[in-house]
Amino acid sequence: MPDALLQKLRTTVGAANVLTGVELSPYVVEGRTPEAAIFPGSIEEVAAVMALATEVASPVTPWGGGTAASVGMPAGRPGLVLGLTRLGRLLDHEPGDLTATVEAGITVEAFQTTLGSRGQWLSLDPPDAGRATVGGVLATNACGPRRHLYGTARDLLIGVTVVTADGSVVKGGGKVVKNVAGYDLPKLFIGSYGTLGVIVEATVKLRPLAEQEELMSVRFDRLKDAGAAVRAVAASDLIPNAVELLDGVAAGGAGVTAGSPAAGGVLVVGFDGVREQVDWQRAELARLTAPLGGRDVRPLEPAAWARLGVAARAAFRAPAAVMALAVLPSQVAELMEQGAGIARARGLASAWAAHAGVGVVRSALASDPGLKDPAALAAVLAEWREMARAGGGHANLEWAPLAVKSQVSAWDDPGAAGRIMERIKAQLDPRHILNPGRFVAGI
């Protein structure tokens, strides 16, 4: 990086907020070190940094808590890490409106803590809430088990402020819960992995905290029966806020087996509401699942919630790869069994956990110290992807070593829609400086 540029960056954000050299170690992704990490203290500074980066066509990687930094492909050429953690304020919270506006760098946990003290919450429960930032959660479309009832970022984000590649500050949406004026820009930036702009502010819908919340687990000897129980719950009058299905390995990883491993599958269901509602639903869950082979219905401690979203990867000390598969909810149990069989056939252990009610499945491959050939891992992952595609779904790698990602692409093929995505990218970031090459279709 030219000294002149570095000097300009230091002048823009303050020398203390420009990291170089050994200070960059936390920002090394896949062994690739950025040229500098810049931490602007205001939207104007973000805009100035982007304008400088555009001038020299330097790649920029927006960075929140870094919890999803290794998702997708690393930038093809080194560039700047643009850290948002100094933009960490809660700007506005009007409890009567059930909305709040935050800067992108606030952590989910800090935001929830403040909201909680006022009886409200953002109904998103992504993993690593202590580190994950709101901006990062939006950019990666992260969520957790409660998405079953409360949806994902697309259902909650009502306004967004973004700094585009050329340094313009652009707003989409607004501050009201219902709004059809103009195109739905919030949807565009959710899950765009920093390839279209840098999210700097967000306005979200909130919900009142439920009076009671309870997480129940039900054990099954066969995963298939647990799958049938998922369908029974879906067809019932229950209004669960989470419906999770874990195979025996992942259940161990999430610590929901109550000390007795080797279950075929564990169904975990969350309920919230007033006491009468939670009580009735708990009993109804037991009644519905018993004829299907469900037993040992028991409440889980509240700490189990946070473990559910990472159950598959937590099953192994250092998983060799983690995949996220989106399929139809009715396919989940069968897909989990089939996928474990595919890995087993190649001598590999795997763990499977799903937001079963919405058909989002995560699988982790155990690392085998004896296995040096990434091709074997890649083969399993490719078969898993084929399995998801066969049922009309798709699968993306959430984590894998670069050697594996060079053999099986991190992202699934978006098909003909990929061309529209490329056109959008070309319109919004014509010089391809925002996370170049990281996302689907080589975007």
Binding site: G174, V176, G182, D184, A326, D413, Q427
Partner: protein, 491 residues
């Protein structure tokens, strides 16, 4: 606007007929007039052709033909829109989706349905109702409006307070792109691969392409429903009750406000049992599990009473519930009894600003020498002031339009939006700068260019115009055909 010669028109008509068949192309001016406006009859524009495709391939072929001839085109559903969004402002082809109205697939296990865009909203709920399911977005024109039209406008309705608007219920769409290519955006799964193009498409007001198949979520009908009517002597108290309910941690399925003028009109017309002397009433609906419902209803009643409600009534039977809803849903028809015409506004404000904004609305309309009735989705701050006027009186309509612009400015000033569910279309294109900067609009234009680079797909909408379309402009109000038949109301 380009003009076609008679011989060119004949040639194009024959070509369109070769695509969709005879009896599926209109080009006679008398027939075209039926399609000159939507539910907002303030604007009118004549197409050169109206065509009725029955397949995605038809739509694709029509769009390719339009591209070849550089003819603008626009998709149209039932024509119940309220912003002029489906008008052929530059002539060209109106592509009516009304013959593509099938439910293609219902998958109860996965709680999704695949439908064609011309399907009437309510017909989907009829289809899946016997199995205990329904389609949640419930625009007030749901007896007539189509799911495709709902996609274009990202339509809402009373129950979107709890269940969200159209975009929250759409998983994927097959779209004929503005160049004629058929592409799937999203699909049947809950997560898209890559950018959320389905999410971007919904609410794009027909400017990003034409949806030809739509995957929507269907929901289980709630076990129980409870409907409460709270009556107030001052509209400010009713506004305060909205906030008090939210502050108690309750999210009703719907929370609708009906003001004094509207109550009187409704009672004159239909006798729904609203107290005629009330300044305002709140219609609040809870749904969900049967157990715990009474506890929650009790809290609603308490919040209303503490806010000053003089009477809080719970519907004891389904008939009573239907009667209360009739008062809400027939409000627009009832205005017809007290005024020769009215124009419905659509703006959104933060809920906590309701008292201030309602006062300003009344002041603005009074200063114009007109009357206003308010009936709206109070729970999510979506206002619908209805300005009553007489189109035969010279200048009155212009005053309505001017008052509407001022109301939109107030909504913008308090941090709100200029449309909650009716869309921008033609009506509000020039109001966009009230809430969006030049940079905001420039980014939206770039997004539009990615989908619709030629600009032939529904031109002249959403973005501020240079007032170029001289054929289009305010003209006297007259009821739309479907309104006269009682199929749609202006919510």
């Amino acid at each position: 606007m380009l003009t076609l010669t008679d011989s060119k028109k004949q040639e194009l008509r024959r070509e369109l007929e070769s695509i969709v068949g005879q009896g599926a192309v209109l080009s006679d001016p008398d027939e075209l007039m039926v399609y000159e406006s939507d539910g907002l009859t303030l604007f009118r524009a004549l197409a050169d052709f109206v065509v009725f495709p029955t397949s995605s391939q038809h739509v694709s072929a029509i769009v390719k033909l339009a591209n070849r001839e550089s003819l603008p085109f626009v998709a149209r559903g039932a024509g119940t829109g309220l912003s002029g969004g489906c008008l052929p402002t530059e002539g060209g082809i109106v592509i009516s989706m009304m013959r593509m109205n099938r439910v293609l697939e219902v998958d109860y296990d996965n709680q999704i349905a695949v439908v064609e865009p011309g399907l009437v909203n309510l017909h989907l709920s009829w289809k899946v109702g016997p199995r205990g399911y329904y389609y949640a977005p419930d625009p007030s024109s749901q007896q007539a409006c189509t799911i495709g039209g709902n996609i274009a406008n990202n339509s809402g309705g009373p129950h979107t307070l709890k269940y969200g608007v159209t975009t929250n219920h759409v998983l994927g769409l097959e779209v004929v792109m503005p160049d004629g290519e058929i592409v799937w955006l999203g699909g049947k799964t809950r997560e898209a691969c890559g950018y959320d193009l389905a999410g971007v498409f919904v609410g794009s007001e027909g400017t990003f392409g034409i949806a030809t198949r739509i995957v929507v979520r269907i929901l289980k009908k709630p076990q129980a429903v409870k409907t409460v009517l709270a009556v107030f002597d001052a509209i400010d108290q009713a506004s305060a009750a909205v906030s008090a309910i939210i502050a108690r941690g309750l999210v009703p399925a719907a929370m609708e406000m009906i003001d004094h003028l509207t109550i009187q009109a409704v009672e004159d017309a239909f006798s729904c049992g609203y107290p005629r002397d009330a300044d305002a009433a709140l219609l609040i609906e809870l749904d969900g599990l049967a157990v715990g419902m009474d506890v929650q209803a009790g809290r609603i009643v308490e919040a209303c009473r503490e806010s000053g409600a003089r009477e809080v009534r719970t519907a004891r039977t389904e008939a009573e519930r239907q009667l209360l809803w009739k008062g809400r849903k027939s409000a627009f028809g009832a205005y017809g009894r007290v005024s020769p015409a009215y124009m419905v506004m659509d703006g959104v404000i933060p809920r906590t600003k309701l008292p201030y904004v309602l006062r300003r609305v009344n002041e603005i309309v009074a200063a114009s020498g007109l009357r206003v009735g308010n009936v709206f989705h109070a729970g999510d701050g979506n206002l619908h002031p209805n300005i009553l006027y007489d189109p035969r009186k010279p200048g009155e309509e212009a005053r309505v339009v001017e008052a509407g612009a001022q109301i939109m400015k107030v909504c913008a000033q308090v941090g709100g939006s200029i449309s909650g569910e009716h869309g921008i279309g033609l009506e509000k294109a020039d109001f966009m700068p009230f809430i969006f900067s030049v940079a905001d609009l420039a980014l939206m234009q770039r997004l539009k260019s990615a989908f619709n680079p030629s600009g032939l797909c529904n031109p002249g909408k959403v973005f501020p115009t240079k007032k170029s379309c001289v054929e289009v402009g305010p003209v006297a109000y007259r009821p739309h055909a479907i309104e006269e038949k009682g199929l749609a109301q202006r919510f």
